[in-house]
């Protein structure tokens, strides 16, 4: 197994938590991509209304809306999509490696839809004003279908990360793809896409010069009809939370305050938008000006951000549920690393601090931090390790690190041996002593034996799974 465990030249992101980097980019990309998806449906709707003679301004507005969509989504959306891949490689090459390995044909299918989306979209943008209505609607329809299909395919991969379900037994790609959270997630995202497109269109209606108040009211009413499906969001949300793992549900139901808070924010923001849309815009046919539409779109962005934060967060301690931990260690590799040590075969030297590490043990500890902790923790920046353990004594450090999954159930089990634990403890102590030039080596056999006892007691199973006595005995043996 040692030969197969890949070590990569991982970098330190300084005070920025790696998860924040990928999270921020992900939220931006999701928002832009959903704008493009909802935009396709909006264009079809407006084109249809124009053909029925119900919206005389629709044709002209479609051109302007699509110009914005091309500028925003076809550029930023496309490049941030590629950026997601490259950023994930920077943060967790193993996670993206597994995802690509298992779902490369799904991604390849998505690519065929990307190609259709870009071609039909650009041709519509460039020639729709010169095409007959039916042909223009056909192009718009193909664009909308292709854009939504790209969501369909990527949604299967993203939802699989949290609820891999039957995939865990035999790695059947379709069992993983059509997983328990696939449908609620897909429908929820589709409605989000419609909402984002509808609100964006309302901003544009107000920003285009030359329209009368009646013109704007008519277009706002057409565009805001995309917000009506938001009425289904609470049900879809409940469906989603019903199918995710019980421990993930517990995080957002009070088990983890940040998770609970972000979920509440997402619900409140969505509720505000939905309430305004359903009561004001649709039932009472209220007008919405540019400032209000912008505010609602900002709320939608924050709701998307909070929702994505929760979606990512509830997977903890996994990046692929029951298969791969967030720190890129596979569930079945923990026992091996407990014996072998986590960085024994890591060829990449750690970055030396100014003046160098006083001992090899500290260098070892820095390597353990890089391998096991750095994907979620910085040293003393965002979610910094030093502030988190500030008040812990040496005994607490040894116990809590050895039994990480018991210390916090959303932490993975420690994937290293007793020497790794002690090296990490010494590295933490050295850092919180302001990195002095001289430092002793801790190699007391009694301490290592004590740590080994802690490790054995906690076992190698995740904290969410109660270790049985048999499992503990197996590890000890």
């Amino acid at each position: 197994m040692g030969d197969q465990l890949p070590y990569y030249p991982m970098h330190d992101f300084g005070p920025l938590m790696k998860g924040l980097v990928i999270g921020s980019l992900g939220i931006l990309h999701v928002f832009l991509a959903q704008f493009a998806i909802g935009g396709g449906f909006l264009i079809c709707l407006l084109q249809r209304r124009a053909m029925q003679g119900k919206s005389p301004l629709a044709r002209e507005f479609i051109q302007k809306f699509f110009s914005v969509l091309v500028l925003v989504s076809f550029v930023l959306g496309a490049v941030t999509g590629v950026a997601m891949w490259f950023t994930t490689i920077q943060i967790s090459p193993r996670t993206i490696g597994v995802m690509v390995h298992e779902f490369h044909w799904i991604w390849a299918i998505e690519w065929t839809f990307f190609s259709l989306e870009v071609t039909s979209g650009y041709l519509f943008y460039k020639y729709s004003s010169r095409l007959d209505d039916r042909s223009a609607l056909t192009l718009a329809g193909l664009y909308a279908l292709a854009a939504w299909s790209s969501l369909f395919w990527i949604n299967g991969i993203l939802s699989w990360q949290l609820t891999p379900g039957g995939w865990l037994d035999g790695h059947n790609v379709w069992s993983g793809f059509f997983n328990a959270s696939f449908w609620p997630s897909l429908l929820f995202r589709t409605i989000t896409a419609l909402t984002i497109a509808g609100l964006s269109a309302c901003i544009l209606v107000n920003a285009i010069p030359g329209y009368s108040r009646e013109d704007r009211e008519s277009l706002v009413h057409d565009c805001s009809s995309l917000l009506a499906p938001m009425a289904a969001m609470p049900l879809l949300g409940l469906w989603y939370f019903a199918v995710i793992p019980a421990d993930s549900r517990e995080w957002v139901m009070g088990g983890s305050m940040p998770m609970t808070m972000f979920l509440n924010l997402a619900v409140v923001f969505s509720g505000l938008i939905g309430g305004y849309a359903l009561v004001g815009l649709i039932r009472q046919k209220l007008f919405i000006n540019g400032a209000t539409a912008t505010l609602l779109l900002a709320l939608a962005f924050m709701a998307t951000g909070a929702g994505e934060f929760v979606r990512e967060g509830v997977r903890k301690p996994f990046s692929i549920r029951e298969y791969l931990y967030a720190n890129s260690v596979r569930v079945d590799e923990v026992a091996y690393l407990r014996r072998e040590g986590s960085v024994t075969h890591d060829p990449y030297p750690v970055a030396e601090p100014k003046g160098g590490f006083p001992t090899d043990q500290l260098r070892h500890g820095a390597g353990v931090f890089r391998f096991q902790c750095s994907v979620c923790h910085t040293v003393d920046g965002t979610n910094g390790l030093l502030p988190l353990v500030q008040t812990w004594s040496n005994t607490q450090l040894r116990l809590n690190i050895s039994q990480l999954q018991r210390t916090k159930p959303f932490m993975p089990p420690f994937a290293g041996n007793a020497k790794d634990v002690e090296a990490l403890v010494q590295w933490i102590n050295w850092n919180r002593s302001d990195a002095p030039p001289k430092w002793g080596i801790s190699q007391d056999a009694a301490i290592l034996e004590e740590i080994q006892g802690y490790l054995d007691e906690a076992g190698v199973v995740p904290g969410s799974n109660d270790p049985t006595d048999a499992q503990v005995a197996e590890v000890r043996s």
């Binding site: 990569y8 550029v75 190609s115």
Partner: protein, 374 residues
């Protein structure tokens, strides 16, 4: 290093490896062809801006490139998704390691690409057309951005095939990988984009006859195509010359001869027709297009032959076999056929509009952007 089967690429490997090699090679070749329009086109416009900076106006060819470059960049990025996907199956560890080692340098390619994309749109505005100095700066910015991106990919590729350099580079903290091969290799890729641009322009000319004064072949296209065919081959020879004999060895085997022959036929055939043709005809477009396709595929095959010979390829064969066991191939082929058909249907839908004479302001304007379009 590994033992390469003494058979023509991609044969001689297990079927799973061959499948991924073929898919990677073909999608990469398509990506490269589309990219050629944008990269060579940016240099064409820059050259026109420099040569005609007092007048400030682009030629009809320059206008056409300016008009279509954002579309082609969109297609290029989309087409690029597939080879980036398959390279992760074929060479996962080396590709990821090179990405990681280049760190910020590698990632900075993305904001640069976004800037270049927006500059392509800004380049289309009337505001810019009225300001020759700003237009020149914009054109230079676009070209430099593409050179930076091409340079980054070239370094990344060379770093990925040299695992011996990884630990040292990581320890040094450098984000740049210096190799004597980088400059000539980069020059080859950049210069070799021009013939593809010239072919796309021919094709567009036959589609959009109303936009051209006649069916005469623009002599500048001929000159650029011929000069770049010669130039690219000079850089190819320089690249081969600076490589170590061990690195070059995979390309000097009898089993590679068919691909070298295909490459030579493609180069000579295209050069022959560029040299002798004076009229733009559908036949000429088809002939040069055929040679261009042969060139794209043969270059891609030679590139992969070289990479395979330089990396520990046999070590990753089991990964290919495992990946091929994953379901979804049939579904991919079905959707590939379906969506290819739909793309062709979309083109057919607008084709009659494209071939109609255009009376819009597009061509009458000084710089060509239709009113209301960004």
């Amino acid at each position: 290093m590994n033992e390469i089967p003494d058979s023509m690429f991609p044969f001689g490997w297990p079927w799973a490896t061959m499948l991924y090699l073929v898919l990677y090679t073909l999608t990469w070749a398509i990506h490269r062809l589309l990219m050629a329009y944008v990269v060579a086109g940016s240099f064409w416009i820059l050259a026109e801006r420099i040569l005609h900076r007092n007048g400030g106006h682009l030629s009809p060819t320059g206008l056409r490139i300016k008009e279509w470059s954002p579309f082609f960049l969109g297609l290029t990025i989309t087409a690029g998704v597939a080879p980036v996907l398959f390279v992760q199956i074929l060479y996962q560890k080396s590709f990821y390691s090179a990405n990681l080692l280049m760190f910020h340098r590698w990632m900075s390619m993305l904001p640069v690409l976004i800037v270049a994309f927006y500059l392509l749109y800004i380049q289309k505005t009337r505001w810019l057309a009225a300001r020759p100095s700003v237009a020149l700066l914009t054109a230079a910015g676009i070209s430099l951005s593409f050179v930076f991106i091409a340079w980054t990919w070239t370094e990344n590729h060379l770093l990925s095939v040299n695992p011996k350099a990884w630990v040292e580079m990581y320890a040094s903290g450098h984000w740049y990988y210096r190799a004597t091969e980088t400059a000539p290799r980069l020059a080859f890729w950049l210069v070799s984009t021009a013939p593809a641009l010239c072919w796309f322009l021919l094709w567009q000319q036959t589609l959009d006859r109303a936009d051209v004064r006649s069916d005469e072949l623009d002599p500048r296209q001929r000159t650029v195509a011929l000069a770049s065919i010669v130039g690219a081959n000079v850089f190819l020879l320089v690249t081969a010359f600076v490589m170590t004999p061990e690195a070059r060895a995979p390309l000097v085997r009898w089993s590679v001869a068919p691909w070298w022959t295909a490459y030579a036929v493609a180069q000579l055939g295209a050069a022959h027709f560029w040299w002798h043709s004076t009229k733009v005809t559908s036949r000429l477009v088809a002939l040069i297009g055929g040679f261009l396709a042969l060139d794209a595929v043969s270059v891609a095959a030679l590139r992969e032959t070289l990479r395979i010979g330089r990396s520990d390829f046999t070590a990753v064969l089991p990964r290919h076999a495992e990946a091929s066991q994953v379901g979804g191939l049939i579904a991919f082929l079905v959707f590939l056929a379906l969506n290819t058909g739909l793309i062709l249907y979309c083109v057919r839908l607008v084709r009659r509009v494209i071939t109609q004479p255009r009376a819009s302001a597009e061509n009458a304007s000084t710089e060509g952007a239709p009113q209301g379009h960004p």
